[in-house]
């Protein structure tokens, strides 16, 4: 039923899909791992410094991008403190699904050239971006 040419297209599509799935899998894994390591190191450092396990601090009302900007500003200017590592860990965790959706959209648009799913993924990305800028 399938000619050799058709077989090749099917195989090509499968290979592209496998590539995308592998990439997305590693994005998720890396995001969680980076976040966990940052939080663990932050807590351990805090413990060594103060003798307390719990880092007791809150963050004021701000959205993720303000949160990240504040963190980066601290990295650049101020003394490097344990709580900054914990904040960066939480920011990394929140960025993980976001980057996953971004990677899916790039893949659907540029590699698969699937306009339907580029549009769907673009919508999800737009809503997430909006929510991250919420005030």
């Amino acid at each position: 039923m399938n000619g050799p040419a058709e077989d090749l297209t099917v195989r090509d599509a499968r290979a592209k899909e496998a590539m995308m799935e592998g990439f997305i899998g590693y994005v998720l894994l890396a995001g969680v791992a980076v976040s966990a390591v940052l939080v663990i190191v932050g807590l351990a450092w805090h413990w060594v410094r103060t003798g307390h396990l719990g880092a007791d601090y809150t963050i004021p009302r701000m959205n993720l991008f303000e949160f990240i900007v504040a963190d980066v500003r601290q990295v650049v200017s101020g003394p490097f403190r344990p709580r900054l590592l914990i904040s960066l860990g939480i920011a990394a965790l929140m960025l993980t699904p976001y980057v996953r959706v971004l990677a899916s959209m790039i893949f659907f648009a540029l590699v698969e050239r699937n306009w339907k799913y580029s549009l769907f993924t673009g919508f999800v990305l737009a809503v997430l971006t909006y929510s991250l800028f919420l005030r």
């Binding site: 998720l28 719990g54 009302r61 701000m62 904040s87 993980t96 699904p97 959706v101």
Partner: protein, 276 residues
């Protein structure tokens, strides 16, 4: 609340969550409120750790090529809108309303699990035009069966709007609402069980992020509390999945049914008492 307690409770919640497939929040939130934490605070902390557990397990499933990315992407359109609405409702509502809602969802999940029959998955015979247009189909290699299983999804026009409801509950109560998502995939869209659970895992991460950003903007994400809870739940979930292989499914389900029932009634009673 003491760091050590938060960490230990989170390990237990992650452990039970992974073994039952329900996620840690269902156990974590009642436990935190029992220790005197405000329920809104508990919900906000829980939903951050949901991102961690779902992303962690989704990464393995995606690489195993069981997750259906297209089904996931399409349904995320609905769940993120639901999650933002749900989180906004939580910020505006009183504590006792949340206790009652949480209790009701727990009892609902209990009923769904209790009534669930061991039915074999049957492939979708005829795919509707909408689902075909959405390219909801796929194939995965089934290890125990030793063959590739080809499937098609159906009734996306019902499944999508229902997922708004699942997202709403996730954002409202700070849980993954995985059981609800799996139910929609299984019963409405006719996906094979393995594809349902793994795809639901992928969706949960994005849904939880949408909810988290609402709580973050409201100043309710407290890193001092999030840090031990997130690490504890990750560790507990890891241990839970390791043990899951050894325990029989029946035993896990029996234990979990009792836990759900007790927690559900307890939350309902506290909500009603608070409202009176």
């Amino acid at each position: 609340m003491a760091f050590e307690w938060l960490f230990l409770i989170s390990i237990a919640a992650g452990f039970v969550g992974a073994m039952s497939g329900m996620g840690g929040g269902v156990v974590l939130i009642p436990a935190l409120t029992l220790l005197g934490m405000n329920i809104k605070q508990a919900i906000a902390i829980s939903i951050v750790s949901v991102i961690a557990t779902s992303s962690g397990s989704a990464s393995a499933y995606v690489r195993d090529r069981i997750t259906n990315l297209k089904v996931g992407m399409f349904l995320e359109i609905f769940t993120i809108l639901g999650a933002i609405a749900g989180a906004a409702i939580t910020l505006a509502s009183g504590q006792s309303v949340l206790f009652i809602a949480f209790g009701a969802v727990l009892l609902g999940s209990w009923l769904a699990l209790f009534l669930q029959r061991k039915e074999q998955w049957r492939p979708v015979a005829r795919q509707d035009a909408v689902s075909r247009w959405l390219e909801l189909e796929g194939a995965y290699y089934d290890q125990p069966a030793g063959k590739t299983i080809v499937y098609r999804g159906a009734r996306a026009y019902v499944g999508g709007p229902l997922m708004f409801g699942a997202g709403l509950i996730a954002g409202l109560l700070g849980i993954g609402a995985g059981a609800l998502k799996v139910l929609i995939h299984d019963l409405v869209m006719g996906l094979p069980p393995k594809v349902s659970t793994t795809t639901s895992n992928l969706i949960i991460g994005v849904t939880a992020l949408a909810g988290t950003s609402v709580y973050l903007a409201a100043g309710m994400i407290d890193p001092g509390l999030v840090a031990p809870v997130m690490l504890g739940i990750l560790l507990g979930a890891y241990l839970g999945t390791k043990l899951l292989v050894r325990l029989s499914n029946m035993a896990v389900r029996q234990i979990f049914l009792v836990v759900l029932l007790v927690l559900g009634i307890e939350m309902l009673v506290r909500g009603v008492r608070g409202a009176l």
